[in-house]
C-alpha cells in the first residue's frame, strides 16, 4: 500500500536488455510544456507541464475527468493540444502524426485485432515497418515469450483471457521498440488478482527495457506501487509530482493528501504561528508559517494562518486505547490483515479512522469507549471544510 522504497528512482539502467528485444536503450526524455486543451467550455488540460526522465515510469493519477487521459492521448497523437508542446528527445512532436511517433500504447479496452493471432498482433507494428517476415515472426515470438505467452502464439484474441489479451497488447506495443510506452488504464478491466500479477510484470519489463513510460490510472495503489514518480492531477492541472513515499507523507495540497491514501480531517484551531491545537494537544504545522519539516513544500500557498482549521492525519498517525470516559466511541471495525481499521466517533460528530495492530484491536469492539490521541508529530492543516 505505501510506497515501496526500492522501486523508486531505479528505472534507468537496471539491466541491459537483450539486443533483439531492447527498447531505445537508455530511454527517451519526454517533456510536456504548458499543455492546454478545452472541450467546449470544459478545460480538460489547463497548462500542464511535466518533465519525464529517460527510462522513468511516471503515473498520472486523478479522478475521472481530471485530464490525465487527455494528456496521454495528446502525447500519443490521438488528440491535439490547443496550446503547448510535447517534446520527445527535445524535439516538438506536435505536428507528427500518431503513426510516425514511435509510441507503444496499451489501451483500457481490449484492443487486439480480432482477425489476427497473438503472434500476428505482436508482429503488426513490425509489418508496418516493412520488417522481413522471418525476422518479424522471430521478434514477435520473442516478445510473446517475454510476457509468458509463447504457448498462445497461434491463438486468436477471443480465445485469450482478459489478462492474456492485455499481455499480448503490451508485447505488441513493445515490439516496435517505442520511444515512449503509453499505458491507458491497462489493468482496469481485469480482476483483482490478475491486475496484481500484471502490475508487477509491466514494471519488471519496463525496468528491464528502460522504456520511458507514462501510465494513466485512477487507482492510487497501482500508481504508488508501480511508478518512479506519481503526478496527481485535478481539473487539468498537476497538483503535485513526487515519488510515491513523498506523495504519501508530504502531500502538497489537501486534495493530494485526501486523494492518496486515507486521510482523517480533525477540527483544530491555529493557536499561534505554526502551532495548532487539536484533540487537546498542540502540534507543529507543516506548511506556511509552520516548522513542520525542513524543505517540505508549503501546503496550499493561500492556506489558513489563523482561526479554525482542519487537521489532516493518516489512520496510522493516530493512537487509540480503550478508556472509560474517553473522547470517542468505536463505531466500526474492519479487519485488514496485520492491522485493523477502527472507525471512531468523536464528540462533535467527527468520525476518524485509526489503524491499530489487529491483536490490539480485539479489545476494542464497536461500542467501546476509547481515547484517541495525536502523537506530537508535525501535522498538515487545511481550510475548514463546510
Amino acid at each position: 500500500m505505501t510506497a515501496n522504497a526500492n522501486e523508486t528512482g531505479t528505472a534507468a539502467g537496471v539491466y541491459a536488455p537483450p539486443a533483439a528485444a531492447s527498447g531505445s536503450g537508455e530511454g527517451t526524455p519526454v517533456s510536456l510544456r504548458n499543455l492546454t486543451r478545452a472541450f467546449g467550455a470544459t478545460k480538460a488540460l489547463d497548462g500542464m507541464s511535466l518533465d519525464i526522465a529517460p527510462g522513468e515510469l511516471i503515473a498520472l493519477l486523478g479522478p475521472s475527468g481530471c485530464g490525465k487521459t487527455t494528456a496521454l492521448r495528446i502525447v500519443a497523437g490521438f488528440e491535439y493540444a490547443d496550446s503547448g508542446e510535447v517534446l520527445v528527445n527535445g524535439k516538438d512532436v506536435s505536428e507528427v502524426p500518431a503513426s510516425k511517433r514511435d509510441m507503444g500504447m496499451v489501451f483500457q479496452s481490449y484492443s487486439l485485432f480480432p482477425n489476427m493471432s497473438a503472434l500476428d498482433n505482436v508482429g503488426f507494428g513490425l509489418r508496418m515497418r516493412k520488417t522481413a517476415a522471418a525476422q518479424r515472426r522471430r521478434k514477435a515470438a520473442e516478445l510473446l515469450e517475454m510476457v509468458g505467452l509463447s504457448a498462445q502464439a497461434g491463438q486468436y484474441p477471443h480465445q485469450l483471457s482478459g489478462g492474456q489479451q492485455q499481455r499480448v497488447a503490451l508485447a505488441r506495443a513493445l515490439a516496435i521498440e517505442p520511444h515512449v510506452l503509453l499505458l491507458d488504464e491497462p489493468l482496469s478491466a481485469l480482476d483483482a488478482k490478475v491486475r496484481l500479477q500484471l502490475r508487477e510484470q509491466i514494471r519488471t519489463l519496463q525496468q528491464r527495457l528502460g522504456t520511458t513510460t507514462i501510465f494513466v490510472t485512477h487507482d492510487q495503489e497501482e500508481a504508488l506501487s508501480m511508478a518512479d514518480r506519481v503526478g496527481v492531477m485535478r481539473d487539468g492541472r498537476l497538483e503535485q509530482v513526487a515519488d510515491p513515499s513523498e506523495l504519501y507523507s508530504r502531500p502538497a495540497t489537501a486534495f493530494v493528501a485526501e486523494f492518496v491514501g486515507t486521510m482523517n480531517r480533525l477540527p483544530g484551531e491555529l493557536a499561534g504561528p505554526g502551532t495548532v491545537t487539536v484533540l487537546g494537544s498542540s502540534c507543529a504545522v507543516i506548511g506556511p508559517g509552520g516548522n513542520g519539516g525542513a524543505g517540505s513544500p508549503p501546503i496550499e500557498d493561500s492556506g489558513p494562518t489563523s482561526g479554525p482549521v482542519d487537521v489532516l492525519v493518516r489512520p496510522e498517525g493516530l493512537t487509540v486505547a480503550p478508556a472509560s470516559g474517553g473522547n470517542g466511541i468505536v463505531s466500526g471495525r474492519t479487519f485488514l490483515g496485520a492491522v485493523t481499521r477502527l472507525a471512531v466517533l468523536l464528540s462533535g460528530d467527527t468520525e476518524v479512522r485509526v489503524d491499530v495492530p489487529s491483536a490490539t484491536a480485539l479489545a476494542m469492539a464497536p461500542g467501546t469507549s476509547v481515547q484517541v490521541g495525536l502523537p506530537p508529530a508535525p501535522v498538515l492543516v487545511a481550510s475548514r471544510e463546510k
Binding site: F78, D102, N115, M128, Q159
Partner: protein, 284 residues
C-alpha cells in the same frame, strides 16, 4: 424472395430443440408450428409452379432466346451495384463511426428514404432529369440500385461496425505505425467481413429480383425478361423463375456458410442477414 425464405429459415430453425424440459418444449412446439405454417406458405406456390412448369419447361429454358443475355445483364448489374455500394458505404460508415458519431442517427434517417419513396417515383424522377446518354446506358440502373440498396447496405455495415471497437482498433493500428489505408485494409475491413457479406447478400438478392425500375427504364434484366416471356410461353417463364430462385438461394447459402465458418475462426459472430452477432470476449 429468396432472401426472405432463407432468412426466415435461418432465424427460426437453429438450436431451439435443446435439452431443458417443459417451458422450452412448449415454446419449441410453437416454433415448429410457426415454421410449418411459414413453410407451407412459401412452399405451396413453389410446388404449384413446379407442377405448372413441368419437365419440358426446364429442358427448354436454357436455350430460349433472351435467357442468357438477361441473366448475364442482371449478374453484371449486381456486381457493379455491389462495387459502387461498398466503395461508397464502407468509408462513409467507418468515417461516421470514428469522427461524427452524432451523425449516425441522421444517416440512418437518410438511408431509409429509398424504402419510403416508391421505386416507381424514383425511377421516373431519375429518367426525367438524366441526360440521354446515361438514360440509354444500362449502368444507370446500377446507380439506381445503389440508392435502392442503401438502406440494407448501411444497416448491415453499421451493425458490423457497432460489434467492434472501431475507435480503439484504429488508434491501436495508428500507434503501431499503420496509415489510414493499412488500418482500413488490414484491421477494419477484415473485422467487418461478416457485415460486408451480409450487405453483399442483400444487394445481390435485391438486384437479381428487381423489376419495377428495370422495366420502366426499358432494360431487359432477368426479371423483366421473365415477365415479357411469360406472355409467349408461360411454362418456360415459370421454369426460369424457379431456376433463378434456386440459383440465388444456392448462392446466398454458400456465402452464408463460408462467411460463418471464417468468422468462427476469429471469434466473430454468425452471419445472418440483418444483424451481426457481437464478438464474445471472455472475461478475465
Amino acid at each position: 424472395m429468396a432472401t426472405l425464405t432463407s432468412a426466415a429459415g435461418q432465424a427460426i430453425s437453429p438450436d431451439n430443440s435443446k435439452k431443458r424440459r417443459r417451458p422450452r418444449e412448449r415454446s419449441s412446439a410453437w416454433r415448429w408450428a410457426i415454421l410449418l405454417v411459414a413453410g407451407v406458405y412459401f412452399l405451396v406456390p413453389l410446388y404449384a409452379a413446379l407442377r405448372f412448369a413441368g419437365l419440358s419447361g426446364f429442358k427448354d429454358v436454357f436455350t430460349t432466346p433472351g435467357f442468357g443475355s438477361s441473366l448475364w445483364l442482371s449478374i453484371r448489374l449486381a456486381a457493379v451495384t455491389w462495387i459502387v455500394s461498398m466503395l461508397l458505404m464502407i468509408p462513409t460508415t467507418v468515417y461516421v463511426h470514428l469522427r461524427m458519431p452524432g451523425l449516425r442517427r441522421l444517416l440512418e434517417g437518410v438511408t431509409i428514404l429509398p424504402i419510403v419513396i416508391p421505386p416507381v417515383v424514383l425511377i421516373i424522377g431519375v429518367l426525367q432529369v438524366m441526360p440521354l446518354a446515361l438514360r440509354a446506358s444500362v449502368w444507370l440502373l446500377a446507380l439506381e440500385y445503389v440508392v435502392l440498396a442503401m438502406p440494407f447496405a448501411y444497416r448491415a455495415l453499421d451493425a458490423g461496425l457497432r460489434a467492434i471497437d472501431v475507435k480503439t482498433l484504429t488508434e491501436a493500428a495508428g500507434s503501431l505505425g499503420a496509415g489510414w489505408l493499412s488500418t482500413m485494409w488490414r484491421v477494419i475491413l477484415p473485422n467487418m467481413r461478416t457485415a460486408v457479406i451480409s450487405a453483399t447478400i442483400l444487394i445481390v438478392a435485391l438486384v437479381l429480383g428487381e423489376f419495377t425500375m428495370a422495366s420502366l427504364d426499358l432494360k431487359q434484366t432477368f426479371p423483366v425478361w421473365i415477365v415479357l416471356f411469360d406472355q409467349e410461353n408461360a411454362q418456360i417463364s415459370v421454369a426460369a423463375s424457379i431456376f433463378a430462385l434456386f440459383v440465388t438461394w444456392v448462392f446466398l447459402m454458400l456465402i452464408t456458410v463460408i462467411a460463418t465458418r471464417q468468422s468462427r475462426r476469429t471469434g466473430g459472430g454468425e452471419v445472418t442477414l440483418f444483424t451481426v452477432a457481437p464478438q464474445q470476449t471472455i472475461g478475465n
